[in-house]
Amino acid sequence: MANSLITLQEIVEQTTDLPSIPAAAVRVIQETDSALSTAAHIAEVLAQDQSLTIRILRLANSAYFGLSRRVDDLTEAVVVLGMRNVRNLAMVACSYPWMVRPLKGYALGPRQLWSHSFSIAVGAQLVAKQARIPNDDVAFTAGLLADVGKSALSVWLEDKLAALIVYATREGMTFDEAERKVLGYDHAQVGEYLAAQWNFPTSITQVIRWHHQPSSLETPDPIVDCVHVGDYLTMIMGYGLGGDGLQYGFDTTTLERLQLTTDHLDQITDEFVTAHDRYELMFEELQVA
């Protein structure tokens, strides 16, 4: 059933309205793993993009952070909120404009991909904190971008979604398995391709690629595991569900690797929803941004 005539490159090249990430944000992400990256340098890089700077400052001053006084420049924001928070705000600010678009191929209405992606980010970071994984902010960024491939694959699914759901259910397949069978690629592969085109580091592209198949990696990656669990939490709590719904697998060995138990997971689910509700305060700023 796979259409082997289409290549990943063709899928991406023939998709109009592809998402884009500003150069300044890409540079900040590229430096995520760099020990040399300093708060001042991050602020300097982001400040080169005026529109992005305005949006980041608007988020930094949102009710979510509850700062006692207004921050008016990026250097100050980095000092008050920390470099990792500002880097995450940069990703939020530059993903939001294209993530709010509806994706007909996945039956996602306006803001639904955003709601889903942001929830994965919040869930993945929370799981990373619970499992004491260092750099939990990377789990946030990677979680936010995990489903970026859907924005490119959507148009290819527009006339196939209903049939694909029926096919996947009948054959006992997850939705990503069905995507691979029917289109030759799943949204995780397309997402990895897109992120590589943006020159994102492997630490991020690897998460996008394997977030539905975390045990297929030769060497397990704790951030991939955190995003997999964050995605699971997002699906069961129903944030931004499209036609693919909950038609995915949950690899429970991720919990073992993260040393989390099922009891932990109920508590994490509760904390996840609470954290998500708090973030609504930031959403208010995004809607006017």
Binding site: A162, I236, M237, L241, L246, T252, Q267, D270, V273
Partner: protein, 173 residues
């Protein structure tokens, strides 16, 4: 969240919320995953209510911040609010939907991971314990559901992307 129009008050029943109304109303639980949307209507007094349940039971070692979050604390509170508004349990028509789950778990997965099934079981048990019976139930599967109750027509509807909108039950009949 409630919006009042000329004909009905519309309630968007968010996670862990309970809404009860007397008179024309439309209740909606949007995009249920493993959560359950449970609704009741007393046609005699025209009182109805919906609860959006998130987890089966409250944590023994943690205070309950929202009663509607858990089946054990929420169903009691939902019933108390319905009765306070004038509904009588003997006349109430009840239905619920939701409780979906991810499609596949790994081999030997702990059954506690199936939050959707645990929610559905908890709702059934708590209703039974209170002497209540649901007229219609639509739980399980791997699709997100949107559940709506229109108290004017009595229709409880369930919408999924794959199956579209279908009538689950008419609580006025």
């Amino acid at each position: 969240m409630a919006i009042t129009t000329a004909s009905s008050t519309q309630f968007l029943v968010g996670m862990s919320e309970i809404h009860v109304a007397k008179g024309p109303a439309i209740f909606t639980c949007l995009g249920l995953g493993s959560c359950i949307g449970l609704a009741a209507l007393d046609v005699t007094t025209d009182v109805a209510g919906m609860i959006h349940i998130m987890l089966p039971e409250a944590f023994p070692d943690k205070p309950v911040d929202k009663l509607g979050k858990f089946a054990d604390t929420g169903i009691k509170e939902w019933l108390r609010l319905l009765e306070r508004a004038g509904a009588q349990t003997s006349r109430m028509k009840i239905a619920y939907a939701g409780g979906a789950q991810v499609f596949k778990f790994g081999a030997n997965a702990d059954s506690r991971l199936d939050v959707g099934a645990r929610n559905a079981t908890a709702v059934a048990e708590h209703l039974k314990r209170l002497g209540l019976r649901a007229l219609a139930i639509d739980v399980g599967g791997s699709s997100g559901r949107t559940v709506t109750l229109d108290t004017v027509t009595g229709l409880m509807r369930v919408r999924t992307v794959a199956a579209g909108e279908k009538e689950l039950v008419n609580l006025r009949k």
